[in-house]
Symmetry: C2
């Protein structure tokens, strides 16, 4: 079975004025283990990978593998320069990564051939499976279906993390079917964009790469398991109950909402985001706190 | 007089398979000195700053200051994390930078308050003038006029590098006048986007931050000096003669065109761009080579 299936939960990497709070990070990973997530995914966008040094990333990778207690660990290796990505890939593998996640991080806007070349260079020196990470919001690069197909044929590519699906069940299903037809069977398709995750799973996605799953893994697991058992209406209803969170994510970015929620729950200290990123603004923070209390998550 | 005036020329940092070609880089800087540019601007976007390590950037900064023979050197200090920017700022100042250039490099899209906070944190620890670098194409962040105004009031901010002006003389003039009214007199406004530079200078910009100036400094100086003497029709005519280059820059990005042109002129080796960036594609390369021969730049 392809390890890129089910729920992939993305823990935050809490960064305070004194650096990474390693104890809090390990606590977040243990929470994922306790909830039985399918993949622990440190150093994703939610984990702030591009804001950390190579040494910090190697350390976080080792902590995650140790704390994950055998659950597959998928480690983000993205960086601007291919040289850096190759170093990070080596570090992740040395730390015991089960797999790696790679986005085409951009400064100069990249061409399709440049992105293909990046994956070609990296997979040539890789011994573990790779998930292609498509996140136009952070990379400025949008994959075409043709490029998904080309990259999927490279060795060790086993999943594509897509940035969402179109609104509506039919449009979502059409989109996923189109991708499904373009990539080999051994490559799974995983949805990200938490607000549309239940829609994506109903549309045929094999995995949910989840920001919320890093903070509220039980809630994300409930949605995932309902969808996997075929109870898509149940999954959509569970997702609907989180609409306040989804709306805050749409307005403020999922990382800021996840960090504020983890702070509300007492899982990490404040501030927790690497500068120049700042905490969720005060009004949104109140709204999130009210929701968390109403949901019985905090006293 | 504000040092951020006239022509700022951005040399490439040639990166081959064995790393930075330091001799070629020094040769590029000497070429700028010989042409009498007003500022040497290493480690800008054209100089590939975000693709280089901290050690490489410190080395390039020192080489540039040594080779610049007293011409002001403006060094790019941008990076994703504020911590990194502060380190790079210290390195640039230790290398002898006359001034620094800072863009709000982004992965998570930044809010206005986050960008303001970045400039606040960096200028608090800075002893040389700073140019605010607005480049939405690479940073995903667009400054509002209000944010220009807020940032301009921070200590040591002395220039804003704007990403272009609207098409047409009147629209361009209106735009520059609006910015001029929003920022203090001691802050200059510099145009980038080489194809509209002559238009920007005519519209009242004080400086041209130029990609072409890093490779063809004499041509860029001729345009700049014509504009500075009030001969805007002359400047526009000189710019018009470069339309083939401008069109290639619009289609392929100015960095790829500048590197290909420098290779055609024998100033640097091939390949010269840090991966994942690739050379200008073959058809465009032929078009550029034909233009360079017709212009008498190569035999």
């Amino acid at each position: 079975m392809n390890l890129f299936s089910g729920l992939g939960a993305f823990p935050l990497t809490p960064v305070g004025p004194a650096g990474i709070d390693e104890d809090a990070f390990v606590g977040l990973v243990r929470r994922l283990v306790a909830a039985g997530v399918d993949m622990v995914c440190p150093l994703g966008s939610t984990g702030g990978y591009p804001y950390l040094t190579r040494a910090e990333r190697a350390r976080v990778a080792r902590l995650a593998v140790d704390a994950a207690a055998g659950i597959p660990v998928v480690i983000g290796i993205g960086a601007l320069a291919t040289r850096e990505v190759l170093d990070l890939s080596a570090d992740a593998q040395a730390a015991g990564a089960s797999a790696v996640l790679l986005a085409p991080v951009s400064y100069q806007p990249l061409t399709e051939d440049e992105v293909f070349g990046l994956y070609e260079d990296v997979t040539a020196e890789l011994s573990v499976p790779l998930c292609v990470y498509d996140n136009p919001r952070t990379t400025q690069f949008t994959f075409s279906v043709d490029l998904y197909a080309r990259v999927s044929l490279l060795p060790r590519v086993r999943s594509i993390k897509i940035p969402g699906v179109p609104d509506g069940s039919d449009a979502a299903m059409h989109h996923v079917q189109r991708l499904r037809a373009a990539v080999p069977e051994h490559v799974t398709i995983g949805i990200s964009g938490d607000p549309v995750a239940a829609t994506g799973l109903k549309a045929g996605c094999d995995a949910w790469y989840s920001v919320l799953g890093g903070v509220l893994p039980e809630q994300a697991m409930a949605i995932t398991r309902a969808a996997q058992s075929g109870d898509h209406n149940g999954a959509l209803a569970l997702s609907g109950a989180l609409e306040t969170v989804w709306e805050l994510m749409r307005r403020h970015g999922s990382m800021r909402v996840a960090s504020a929620l983890a702070e509300e729950l007492g899982l990490i200290g404040t501030p927790s985001l690497p500068r120049p990123l700042r905490e969720l603004d005060a009004d949104a923070r109140v709204e999130l706190g009210d929701w968390a209390r109403a949901a019985g998550l905090v006293g």
